[in-house]
Amino acid sequence: MTRQRAAWLFVGPALAVIGVFFFLPVLAALALSFTDFDIYALASLANLRLVGLRNYSELLQRPEFWNALGNTLYFVIAGVPLSIGASLGAALLLHARAARFKAFFRTALFAPVVTTLVASAVVWRYLFNTRYGWLNYALGGLGLPAIDWLGDPRFSMPAIIVFAVWKNFGYNMIILLAGLQAIPEELYEAARIDGASVWRQFRYVTLPMLTPMLSMVAILTVAGYFQLFAEPYVMTQGGPLQSTMSVLYLMYDEGFKWWNLGSASAVAFVLFVLMFAVTAAQIAWTRRRGPA
């Protein structure tokens, strides 16, 4: 009996915090999204009215929302494969028998992950500078014209993607490296005895063995990329011409710039439902392709 009570003393504080500061707000967000909570309601709750699904229907009619959604999907669809590709490439290199100084290279390639996003975004903003940035200097060296990375709506999202990939490919690199190390060496030996080339060893041994891990990495990375906010906030402020405005940035502006907390909650829930649907689809797809 006392043991049961002790257990609750151990687990209670954490559960209380998570309940009060996470579960409760999530439920409240749903409720809030059915109200017209705005700056007047912030002053006095007497100004609060239930509006049913109006926040959602209005949101779906706003071009800003579709623009933000399109930008976010652009970021996810282009950014995730690039990021995982870089992670896989780096992991394969680190795992290669010919690789030297592995510990140094692993740390060097991972370093951007631990840097503060805001600070490295500030650094990259200058690397992207049209006149004085290193990126255009490198392009010039290759005989290519300078690009107005952060000022041209065609290049602003690619610039954000380049930065995001630089910042976080190291995370999945570590996970995939562990996956590569877990593949039994005998499989490669057998493949080599059969005369398989390096490419065929990769295609028929490495890739199938790594697939469960790649699926998991893809699911987590997609979820992470949907939460785009700080990169455009620091580097482009959502511009130029709203070309880097993300769904989460829209929620931030709605909620904490204009204090339309009701419609901001609707934005948050739409994002959540979308992410949930995409994750569920990914899991279903992974399962159908065979037991992971």
Partner: protein, 273 residues
Amino acid sequence: MKRLRASALVNGLLAAGALVTLFPLLWMVSASLMSPGEASATPPPVLPARPSFDNYRELFAHGGMWRYLANSVFLASAATLASLIFNVAAGYAFAKLRFAGRERIFRALLGALVIPGQVAMVPLFLELKALGLVNSYGGVIVPALASIFGIFLVRQYARSIPDELLEAARIDGASEWRIFASVVLPALRPIVVTLGVFTLLATWNDFMWPLIVLSDKDLYTLPVALAALSREHVQDNELMMAGSVVTIVPVLLVFLSLQRYYLEGLLAGSVKG
């Protein structure tokens, strides 16, 4: 011959990759030592002509950097310490102590991992406003006090503690609290360090929530202050580089000294799928 070519290719690519990841960071340090306007040249200079700490002096003397640094150090360490207490106790209980509804509650927590934290932010702001915690240190710390991920991490590790060890202590008449302090905590030391590094870096680097909950400049953390400064000082490259160095170097040092623990946590956290 073929061996040699493969080795050159692999190591060449690794070196190129390391150059790409490290160059922005190294250049940040170099540019932070340049005099105002020096970095704005074509080609961009690699090293400062006359290195000086003037930008740092400027930031700390007139930019309020001491204050932001102190805020960040205090908030990150307080949140880390407090959340360790909450998460380690809960993770241990979920692994080793029996209580009604244990499995159901744990499954509910795991299920909630799919909910992005940002969904909670708007009502959380209103909740903390009602509690008088908006625009205070408390507003930053309170939501970070416990995390599902942290509880999960500790639980996985704590399951490896042998039950006989705990039973033996109980037979000796030790209280549950004493068992936790003198048997469980020492056994959990590695995961406590791992979770500690993880939480420290996460709270130090956190941006969106402090940005929302803090409005008073004196309370800004380094990332929030840096974002605000960089909007004011768009032209002052060198100054902003110094600000970035001050923000990044502490976490980088913590990471380098505790790298093993951090990477272990990263791997342990990723097998939850």
